[in-house]
C-alpha cells in the first residue's frame, strides 16, 4: 500500500469511527441522518473520483477504494451510498455530459437514488423495481428497452423492509415511464464493469468489519470456562478467514489497475464476504442474531450486495471470456 493510500485509509478510518460507529445501529433502523449526509459531502466523498475541473477530488483507484473499504467496515450502507453516487450516478452523468446535475449532487443540493433493475440478474419481473435510496430523482438503469434514464418525481414505494442496505431506505417501487434517456445499455454495462475494483473494496470492507467483531467477541466470550478463541475450530477458522482477507487486501491495494484483475477480485471477494460474515455471526451464537451486536447487518448486507453488485452468471461470463480470450460459458 502506498503512502497516499495509507493516509487515506487512516483519514477515513477516523472519519468513520468519529461519525458513523456510534450511530451505525441507528442508521440501520432509521436511515442515514441528514447531518451525516452533509459531513460526507463536506469530506468530499461524493465526487471523489470526478476530475477537479468538474468539481471533484480526482482521486486514484487506491484512494477511492480505501474510502469504500473503511466505510464498509462500519456501515455497508454508507459505503454503498458513496459507491452508488461516484461509480454509478456521477459516472453515468459524466459520460452523458450532464454537468448541471453533477453540480447539484456534489454540492449536496440534490440526492439521487438508483433502480438498477434489469442490469441485475433476476431484474424486472412485474413485482416492482428494487430501488436504492429512493429520492425525488432517480437514475434508472435499463428501463424502456435497456436505456439509462433519469426519472423525476418520488416513486410509489411498496414499503417493504429490505434484506440489506437498510440505511439507504432500500425498497420496492413502482416506477412511471416519465424518464429522460441519458445513456445506452452498453454504456452502462461498461460503467458497471469499471466498478469491479470498487465493489471488491466494499465486499472486503464489510468482511473485515464482521471479522473484527468476531475476533473481539471470541476473545471475551467464555464457554465451558474457556474463551471461544481457545477452541481449535474457532481459532483456526478465524485465522483462515483473516489470512484470505489479507491476501485479497494486498491485491486490492496494489498498483495493479487492469479490469481482469478487478473482475477476478470482485468474483472472489463477493463469495468471501458471504462466508466470512456467516462465520462471524455463527461465532456470536444467539447474540449474533440480535441487531444490537452489530454483526447480523454484515451478514444481511453481504448477501444483499451479492445480489445487487455481483451477477453470478453475467459477470462470470465476462470473466470467462477474458480468461479464454473468446466467448465462453454460454451453454
Amino acid at each position: 500500500m502506498n503512502e497516499q493510500t495509507e493516509m487515506m485509509m487512516e483519514n477515513i478510518r477516523q472519519f468513520a469511527e468519529s461519525n458513523i460507529s456510534s450511530i451505525s445501529l441507528k442508521i440501520e433502523r432509521e436511515g442515514i441522518p441528514d447531518d451525516l449526509y452533509a459531513k460526507i459531502i463536506q469530506q468530499g466523498l461524493i465526487g471523489a473520483t470526478l476530475p477537479p475541473e468538474l468539481g471533484g477530488a480526482g482521486l486514484d483507484r487506491n484512494s477511492y477504494d480505501a474510502i469504500l473499504f473503511q466505510l464498509a467496515r462500519i456501515s455497508p450502507s454508507v459505503a454503498f451510498h458513496v459507491f452508488m453516487n461516484n461509480s454509478l450516478i456521477l459516472r453515468s452523468l459524466e459520460k452523458a455530459g450532464r454537468m448541471d446535475i453533477i453540480s447539484e449532487i456534489i454540492s449536496g443540493k440534490e440526492r439521487y437514488g438508483i433502480a438498477p433493475g434489469p442490469l441485475m440478474e433476476g431484474g424486472e419481473d412485474g413485482e416492482g423495481s428494487l430501488i436504492i435510496e429512493p429520492g425525488s430523482r432517480n437514475i434508472v438503469i435499463g428501463r424502456n428497452g435497456g436505456k439509462v434514464t433519469v426519472l423525476t418525481g418520488m416513486p410509489r414505494l411498496l414499503d417493504k423492509k429490505p434484506l440489506g442496505l437498510r440505511g439507504l431506505k432500500t425498497d420496492i417501487a413502482i416506477l412511471e415511464d416519465n424518464g429522460e434517456q441519458i445513456l445506452s445499455r452498453e454504456d452502462m454495462e461498461a460503467i458497471w464493469e469499471d466498478g469491479s475494483w470498487h465493489s471488491a473494496a466494499i465486499f472486503l470492507g464489510l468482511a473485515e468489519g464482521a471479522l473484527e467483531k468476531a475476533i473481539e467477541y471470541t476473545k471475551v466470550r467464555k464457554t465451558f470456562n474457556f474463551s471461544l478463541k481457545d477452541y481449535e475450530p474457532v481459532a483456526f477458522r478465524m485465522s483462515e478467514l483473516k489470512s484470505e482477507l489479507e491476501i485479497f487486501k494486498n491485491t486490492l491495494f496494489s498498483d495493479v489497475e487492469d479490469s481482469l484483475t478487478g473482475m477476478m477480485l470482485k468474483t472472489l471477494s463477493a463469495e468471501f464476504s458471504r462466508r466470512a460474515t456467516k462465520y462471524a455471526l455463527q461465532f456470536h451464537g444467539g447474540y449474533g442474531y440480535l441487531e444490537d451486536f452489530g454483526v447480523e447487518k454484515f451478514y444481511r448486507d453481504a448477501v444483499s450486495l451479492n445480489s445487487i453488485m455481483f451477477r453470478p452468471i453475467t459477470d462470470k461470463r465476462v470473466l470467462a471470456a477474458k480468461i479464454y480470450g473468446e466467448k465462453s460459458g454460454f451453454l
Binding site: 438498477p116 433493475g117 441485475m120 440478474e121 433476476g122 431484474g123 419481473d125 413485482e127 416492482g128 428494487l130 417493504k160 423492509k161 429490505p162 434484506l163 440489506g164 420496492i172 466470550r221 467464555k222 464457554t223 465451558f224 470456562n225 477452541y231 475450530p233 474457532v234 458471504r274 456467516k278 455471526l281 455463527q282 451464537g285 444467539g286 449474533g288 442474531y289 440480535l290 441487531e291 444490537d292 447480523e296 451478514y299 444481511r300 448477501v303 444483499s304 451479492n306 445480489s307 445487487i308 451477477r311 453470478p312 452468471i313 462470470k316 460459458g329 454460454f330 451453454l331
Partner: protein, 374 residues
C-alpha cells in the same frame, strides 16, 4: 426398507400443507415479521383443526416441516406453544401434568422452556440461576436469555441449580427442573426485539427475583434436571431438523419455481444455476432421510443422540445453504420476494437447540467412545 411415508402420515402431510398455504397469508407473514408480533390467531386455528398433536411425534415432525416450508416464522409460532411439554410428559407428576399440560393441550395456555442464560449459551451446566429450598417452597433468583415465548407463555419449565455440584468437574450435578408461572411474584420478562429472523416468534429475557415456587412444582427428582433437559434436547433437535428441512424445501420450491418461470418466458437458464438447484435438492433429500432415521430411533424409544445430532446439524446447515444458494440463483428477484425472509429465518437453525459446533462435539465424542451405531 421402504422410504415412503405411511399413507396415513402422507395424507396428514397434505392436510397440513393445504392449511399452511391457505392460512399463512403473505400479508400476515410479512406483518408478523415486520412488527415482531406473535400471530396468536394461527396458534388457535392450528389447534382448532387438530393439526398439532404432541402425543404423536411423527405427525408433529411432519407438521413442523410443512408449515416451515410455507413460512418459518408462522410455522414455528404455530408449533411452539408446547415447547418443553415433553419434559412434563415424561417426568412431571400427575398433578403437574393435569394442572399445566391439559391447559396447553386445550389451547388455554402457552408454555416455554427456560434453560439458556446470559453468557451461558451452549454451556448448560454452567447456569447460575439458583433455587434455595425454604420450607415447602423454592426461592428462585437469576435470569434466563433467548427464551422462546418469553413474554407470552403462562408458565415455564425451568432448569435451576438446587445444590452446588458435589465435584467441580461434575457441574451438571445439582440441577433441577421447576415449573415457574409468569404470575408468581418476582417474575419479570423483557421482549427481545431486533432479531435477524423468525421475528414472528416471541423471544425474551426472564428475570427472577426471589420468585417463590411451590415444592410440588418440582419436576421429577431433585438433582436430575440436567439429564431431563438433555433428554428433551434429543427430542427437540429432531424437531429443529424438521424446521430446517421445511426452510430448505421452501427455498428449493421458490428457486425452482423461479427458474421454471424464467424458462417459460424464453429466458436462458444455464446449467450453472440448474446444478445449484440440484445440489439443494440432493441435500434436502439427504437431510430428510437422516431426520427420519433419528426420528425412528427416538420415537421407538431407542434414542440415538449421535444420529440426532447428525440430523440436526446437517439439516440446519442445509437450511442455511439452501436459502443462501436460492438467493444466488434468483438474484434481485429473491430480494423482492419472501425468499429473503427465508434466508434471514434460516440462520438461527445453526444456533438454537445446540449450535452446529455442539452437534459436532456430540458426534465426535460418541465416535471416539466407539459408539458408531453398529
Amino acid at each position: 426398507m421402504d422410504f415412503d411415508l405411511p399413507e396415513e402420515l402422507d395424507e396428514y402431510r397434505k392436510k397440513v400443507r393445504e392449511f399452511a398455504i391457505r392460512e399463512f397469508r403473505p400479508e400476515l407473514a410479512e406483518k408478523s415479521d415486520r412488527d415482531e408480533s406473535y400471530p396468536d390467531e394461527i396458534r388457535k386455528k392450528t389447534l382448532k383443526e387438530g393439526l398439532v398433536d404432541f402425543s404423536n411425534p411423527w405427525k408433529t415432525m411432519i407438521a413442523i416441516e410443512e408449515m416451515c416450508r410455507v413460512d418459518p416464522g408462522l410455522g414455528i409460532s404455530a408449533t411452539v406453544p408446547y415447547f418443553g411439554a415433553e419434559v412434563l410428559m415424561l417426568h412431571g407428576s400427575d398433578y403437574l401434568r393435569e394442572k399445566y399440560l391439559s391447559r396447553v393441550a386445550g389451547g388455554n395456555a402457552i408454555m416455554g422452556l427456560g434453560v439458556t442464560e446470559p453468557g451461558g449459551g451452549s454451556d448448560v451446566a454452567g447456569l447460575k440461576t439458583n433455587a434455595r429450598k425454604e420450607g415447602n417452597k423454592y426461592i428462585v433468583n437469576g435470569s434466563k436469555m433467548f427464551i422462546t415465548n418469553g413474554t407470552i407463555a403462562d408458565f415455564f419449565v425451568m432448569l435451576v441449580r438446587t445444590s452446588p455440584p458435589d465435584d467441580p468437574k461434575k457441574r451438571h450435578h445439582g440441577l433441577s427442573v421447576l415449573v415457574v408461572e409468569r404470575n408468581f411474584k418476582g417474575f419479570d420478562s423483557n421482549h427481545l426485539t431486533g432479531k435477524l429472523g423468525v421475528r414472528a416468534t416471541n423471544t425474551a429475557e426472564l428475570i427472577l427475583n426471589n420468585v417463590e415456587v411451590p415444592e410440588e412444582n418440582l419436576v421429577g427428582e431433585e438433582g436430575k434436571g440436567f439429564y431431563y433437559i438433555m433428554e428433551f434436547f434429543n427430542i427437540s433437535r429432531v424437531f429443529v431438523a424438521a424446521q430446517s428441512i421445511g426452510i430448505a424445501q421452501g427455498a428449493l420450491d421458490r428457486a425452482s419455481a423461479y427458474l421454471i418461470s424464467e424458462e417459460s418466458k424464453g429466458h436462458f437458464v444455464g446449467e450453472e444455476r440448474k446444478f445449484k438447484l440440484a445440489e439443494i435438492a440432493t441435500r434436502v433429500e439427504a437431510s430428510r432421510l437422516l431426520m427420519y432415521k433419528a426420528a425412528s430411533y427416538l420415537f421407538n424409544y431407542r434414542p440415538n443422540p449421535m444420529i440426532t445430532s447428525m440430523a440436526k446439524g446437517y439439516a440446519s446447515e442445509t437450511a442455511s445453504f439452501a436459502a443462501e444458494t436460492a438467493m444466488e440463483i434468483t438474484g434481485s428477484h429473491g430480494l423482492k420476494t419472501d425468499l429473503e425472509r427465508l434466508f434471514r429465518d434460516s440462520k438461527i437453525m445453526e444456533i438454537w437447540e445446540g449450535t452446529s459446533e455442539v452437534e459436532k462435539i456430540v458426534i465426535s465424542r460418541m465416535m471416539m467412545k466407539g459408539d458408531k451405531n453398529e
